[in-house]
């Protein structure tokens, strides 16, 4: 009887949609900015970010048949990119690898910003956060995910994500205020010296 019920369920459930090799180019074009941006904001190095993004897409190519929907692909890409970026970040910290400036590819579009200096300072401060906190901040503000989704991607309790996010924002706010105060002070000193 149980076997019959399993058989009946299998026969009545809608067929699972899986991806094939032919879908791969479309998926790359659709999600390239997601993957590259996650990697770039995490590593702050265009060459490394491209290397990481390529590896993520290679893994997607291998695992394509196990993914069932567009949402599944997007979730999978965010998860794999974030975990790989955390590993890369740790490795980079150990090796302190230096890449010659000429080998870094040019970004095709400059970032759109309100205040470029403020944005650059913020990106630098985010890059200085420990890996897990950095991942939380990037997923929250680049991908606009809520703490529940971030917790799922990072395999963390939701409350931990919330508290770490709060702590990170507090840290960034304080650092930014200190930086701005210091630069205003430097400008003031510079103008006084000129006078």
């Amino acid at each position: 009887m149980a076997a019959y019920l399993v058989f009946r369920d299998r026969m009545t459930e809608p067929p699972r949609h899986t991806f094939a090799d032919k879908d791969f180019p479309g998926l790359v074009k659709q999600h390239q900015s997601l993957v590259f941006s996650l990697a770039y904001h995490f590593l702050r190095d265009a060459a490394l970010a491209e290397e990481l993004a390529q590896e993520v897409f290679m893994q997607l190519h291998r695992d394509l048949r196990s993914l069932e929907s567009e949402q599944h692909v997007e979730y999978w890409l965010r998860r794999v990119t974030t975990h790989r970026a955390i590993d890369y970040g740790r490795r980079q910290q150990r090796e302190r690898r230096l890449i010659p400036l000429e080998s870094a590819p040019e970004l095709s579009t400059p970032p759109r910003t309100g205040d470029p200096l403020l944005s650059e300072s913020l990106r630098k401060l985010v890059a200085a956060l420990p890996e897990r906190l950095r991942a939380i901040v990037i997923l929250r503000f680049q991908e606009d995910l809520d703490p529940t989704e971030i917790a799922k991607i990072l395999d963390m309790p939701v409350n931990t994500v919330k508290s770490r996010l709060h702590r990170s924002l507090e840290f960034l706010r304080r650092k930014l205020e200190r930086t701005q105060t210091a630069s205003v002070h430097a400008v003031r000193q510079g103008s006084e010296a000129q006078l």
Partner: protein, 114 residues
């Protein structure tokens, strides 16, 4: 804290990857399969070569053992032939020394010549 959240959204907005990124990824995704095929062919050739070499060495060892056994047999035959020769020589030399008139004692106890 909302001002910093807004600024972070601006600072961390998505950006496009370098030109030709998608083409490079798609090209790379096509490449490994060919490499895999070459690797499979190379592995098959290597396997066939190793099996052949193993069989050849096995046959050579068997041949060597056969030759050693043959040499031992020849040596054994030579030793046996030498021994036989010695025995034959001794028999012949004894027969030559033996007197032709062998005394024989009859029923009454008298010696007589054959």
């Amino acid at each position: 804290m909302s001002w910093i959240e807004d600024d972070l959204r601006v600072a961390l907005q998505r950006r496009e990857p370098p030109d030709g990124f998608a083409q490079r990824v798609i090209g790379r995704a096509r490449r490994p399969r060919q490499q895999w095929r070459f690797a499979a062919i190379a592995a098959a050739i290597l396997l066939i070569f190793s099996v052949g070499l193993f069989r050849y060495r096995e046959a050579a060892a068997e041949r060597r053992n056969g030759e050693v056994a043959r040499e031992q047999l020849v040596l054994a035959i030579q030793i046996a032939a030498g021994k036989l020769e010695t025995v034959k020589y001794r028999i012949n030399s004894h027969a030559a020394e033996m007197p032709l008139d062998i005394p024989v004692r009859d029923e009454k106890g008298n010696d007589r010549q054959l």
